[in-house]
Amino acid sequence: MQKLAIILVTLVTGLITAQTNYEKGMQKAFELWGNNNSVEASNMFERIANAEPDNWLPPYYAAQINIVNSFGEKDEDKLTAQLKKAQDLINDATAISKNNPEILVLQALLYTAWVAFDGATYGPALSAKVASIYAQAEQIAPNNPRVVYCKAEWGIGGAKYFGQDIAPFCSELERALDLFANFKPETPFSPNWGEDRTRMLLEACRK
């Protein structure tokens, strides 16, 4: 009887304190992504985006998956389709949350994916765009670690190309690392990525 009561209580409380669909869905999607199942993860985020039309996070992550997968993609048709989809998702996210530094960083990364694919073709037109997006993001959130580190990484690429000193960008990376240490995401699912890459870039700096 006691056991039964416990089971009952757990069941009922389980029902009450159960995670919301949103939390379950987001967790599941991150799980899929973590297991290298990015197509399903992206689909899942898209579905959540569809069910939560006022939340910019699901389309943000769906876009991020498509952008991250585009780096290293050699097939131009596939790349174009993927980045077009990512752009649509970014547009959706921007419509919900304007002047959001996290979304701006993603937009800059999308253009960077084009430049990485074919610098000679896309570099001249998109470099200025990327630079101005980072400038805009910095104005809104000068202490967002992703804004600081992505801007520095972009700067390192340009400086190396022109044989200029990368030291100022490295010190920016140091600053980003401190910012990461003190960064508190607004919600459990808010963007909180980039610390590992910052460390990696810093190591390259020190060499």
Partner: protein, 717 residues
């Protein structure tokens, strides 16, 4: 205890019975499974992804009527509304999205340069990094097939047509005076600086019903929708200087650009064949203002330029040479609005005003002409689906031309005309599948000057023959009123017309493009006159006719050779006309048979430099030799030009640029001028028409000042 069990059972069964399974298979129209498609109930979290067999299965606790959606990249999203309990063992076929990248394109006759179009022959950057172009978009287009090399002119001559047969549009609105005036042996340039534009469409035939009053070709230039950032551009060149500034605000932006060109210092160092009294000098200013609204974009564009020069030109009939002096002022204003009215309706409206004034002294003659033009256009687009779009529109074109003439015999005589045209057009894009598409339209025009009504049908069909290739056919009829040099003397005429028949094959794969296009053009109602030059005493009629046929080839490869991008164009043209003062049918002197162009660019990473070359070959052009019988009976030797350029990035924002035109110093001949009267031996003497200078050098330093310290003017060079 029992109660508890019952409650427990009810609870769990409730929990279980609420779950339904939705499953099925997603296929394409060829019954092949689609892997990775997103299947879900709209507005819920329930959904799944198809596996390698195209199968999906997921649970839902939703009941009753729901919307099932299936989405997949490059396919049209599928929607099904029904009761959840029936959504079992579904077979769903997705149709390919006709907007997808590999879908058929309606492109016969058209070359596009821009980031947005599906088939780009030129990139925006090419306009300014092509060695022979010298930053002139018209110069870059002359490396494309279908154009003929008329080196001393510089305007676009397309497929056996005169330069006047090509019309230029900015943001869909006509430019009436697109070229800056020059002397006889110096090529002209487009008036507008390339850096304000990011999309160029060059159609060499068979174009949309939206465009009229052009017999051969249309060139569509689109101004940049949104600049990237605030910046200042400074350019110091061997010929002058430019200064540009862009300011960006929340929803609007303003770009201004000013330039001053003076050839005097250059002519001091490199004397030309012209005896300048007042070397070529031009000052120009342009501005673009853009304002974004919630669902639309307003653009205002204004340009002003003033040019003057004075020289003594060689002339076989005037041992002292003939005096030539010109002053030109040109003002152009263009405003347009493009916006959405609803999900399926959109509107475009635009208006342009041109004011041009030329004061010209030639020997003892003084000619002063003034031109005022207006173009207004309103266009609606209705999108019924991705597969069917309808365009309707109307436009109004008005030209008012006045000229004053005086010489030692005539006191100032004034004459001119007004040419008003109203037009309406309707056009539909129909995609039967991803492989087969039609564009069909009709344009009607009424000319108030001739009291004449014309009807011009247009049709093009495109069929995808494989993943990478397609075949297109196009037909169109085109009308154009005669040019001002005729209308100012006689207005009792008709519109000239031509029909285009085009067959196009296109192969487009992985940054390699091949195009072959065969065409036939049939000209009728061309204007003829019975004097050497059109003048007051000429008798005019519309009895002229002609034809042009040929084949154009284009190949571009940006992929096979590392850091090298090149393209090759070849055009074969066979044309004859009987018009103007021609006594019989002949090949006009602006239309040569063979044109070959080769452009290459090499990016040297270690030097942070781009070096480029362009080579042009053109077979000889016709001229009349009065010492033998016949008309346009002989041909000049062929034309050759090799140009080189070099752009060096000193730092991200500083660029040094140099170019040399005709490096090998070919002595090109544009034609001959014969004496009006025979010499003592009864022969007509002649003078060779040569360019003002065989070679041309250009050096410039370009510096951009911007917040981000990154952007530069590489795309302007």
């Amino acid at each position: 205890m029992q109660k508890a069990i019952i409650i427990f059972l009810i609870l769990t069964s409730l929990h279980l019975s609420a779950q339904q399974i939705i499953n099925g298979t997603v296929l394409n129209t060829n019954n092949e499974p689609l892997v990775g498609a997103n299947v879900f109930l709209e507005g819920t979290y329930d959904g799944g992804t198809t596996d390698e067999n195209g199968q999906f299965s997921f649970k839902t606790s939703e009941t009753g009527t729901q919307t099932l959606r299936v989405s997949y990249i490059s396919f049209e999203t599928f929607t099904m509304v029904g009761d959840v309990s029936y959504m079992k063992n579904l077979t769903i076929k997705l149709r390919e999205d006709v907007n997808a990248l590999d879908a058929v394109v309606l492109s016969a006759g058209t070359f596009q340069a821009g980031d947005n179009s599906k088939v780009n022959v030129l990139k925006p950057l090419d306009v300014v990094t092509t060695a022979s172009a010298l930053g002139d978009f018209v110069g870059a287009l002359q490396t494309l097939p279908g154009t003929t090399t008329v080196a001393e002119d510089g305007r676009l001559f397309v497929r056996g047509g005169e330069a006047e047969e090509t019309q230029i549009f900015i943001d869909g609105i006509r430019v009436f005076t697109p070229y800056t005036p020059t002397t006889n042996n110096t090529p002209t340039r487009g008036r507008y600086s390339p850096f304000l534009f990011d999309g160029i469409t060059f159609s060499t035939g068979g174009y949309s019903a939206e465009f009229g009053q052009a017999l051969s070709s249309v060139l569509l230039l689109n101004t940049i929708d949104e600049p990237d950032q605030d910046k200042t551009d400074i350019g110091i060149m061997s010929l002058g200087a430019t200064l540009g500034n862009t300011q960006k605000w929340e929803t609007s932006s303003l770009s201004v650009n000013a330039s001053y060109i003076n050839l005097a210092p250059y002519n001091e160092i490199f004397p030309s064949r012209n005896q300048w009294k007042k070397p070529y000098e031009t000052a120009s200013g342009e501005s673009v203002f853009r304002k974004k609204f919630d669902s639309g974009l307003l653009k205002l564009y204004a340009a002003f330029d003033a040019t003057n020069f004075e020289l003594t030109q060689e002339d076989i009939n005037e041992p002292e040479g003939s005096h030539f002096k010109l002053k030109n002022n040109n003002l152009y204003f263009n405003g347009s609005y493009q916006g959405d009215l609803s999900d399926t309706w959109s509107v475009f409206g635009g208006l342009s005003y041109t004011h041009g004034n030329n004061t010209l002294n030639f020997t003892d003659m003084l000619v002063d002409d003034t031109e005022n033009d207006i173009h207004a256009k309103l266009k609606f687009k209705k999108r019924f689906s991705n597969r069917f779009k309808l365009y309707v529109g109307a436009e109004y074109l008005a030209s008012d031309f006045n000229e004053g003439f005086s010489d030692f015999q005539t006191n100032n005589t004034e004459y001119g005309y007004q040419d008003n045209i109203v037009a309406a057009f309707v056009e539909a894009d129909i995609f039967l599948s991803k492989k087969l598409a039609f564009k069909t339209g009709m344009r009607s025009e009424y000319s108030a000057l001739f009291k004449e009504f014309t009807l011009a049908p247009r049709l093009s069909v495109a069929y995808k023959t494989s993943n990478k290739s397609q075949l297109s056919l196009a037909y169109g009829r085109f009308y154009q009123n005669p040019s001002s040099y005729i209308l100012k003397f006689d207005q009792d005429l008709k519109a000239q017309n031509t029909s285009h028949y085009i067959l196009n094959y296109q192969y487009n794969a992985d940054r390699k493009i091949f195009r072959a296009e065969a065409y036939f053009k049939d000209y009728n109602n061309l204007v003829k006159y019975d004097t050497d030059y059109a003048s007051f005493d000429s008798t005019f009629n519309n009895d002229g006719y002609g034809f042009a046929k040929g084949i154009d080839f284009f190949w571009r490869d940006s992929k096979s050779l590392k850091n090298i991008d090149y393209w090759v164009s070849y055009s074969f043209l066979d044309t004859k006309r009987d018009y103007r003062n021609y006594p019989s049918k002949a090949q006009p002197n602006f239309a040569n048979t063979h044109n070959l162009s080769l452009v290459g660019k090499y990016w040297i990473n270690d030097w942070r430099s781009q070096v480029g070359f362009s080579y042009a070959f053109a077979s000889g052009r016709t001229y009349t030799n009065p010492n033998t019988s016949g008309f346009l009976n002989e041909k000049t030797k062929s034309y050759n030009n090799l140009s080189l350029n070099w752009a060096y990035l000193i730092s991200p924002q500083k660029i040094l640029y140099a170019s040399v035109n005709n490096v090998l110093g070919f002595k090109n001949i544009n034609g001959y001028q014969y004496a009006n009267t025979p010499n003592m031996n009864g022969n007509f003497d002649r003078r060779t028409l040569q360019p003002a200078a065989d070679q041309f050098f250009f050096v410039g330093f370009f510096w951009t000042i911007s917040e981000d310290k990154k952007s530069n003017q590489l795309d302007n060079l």
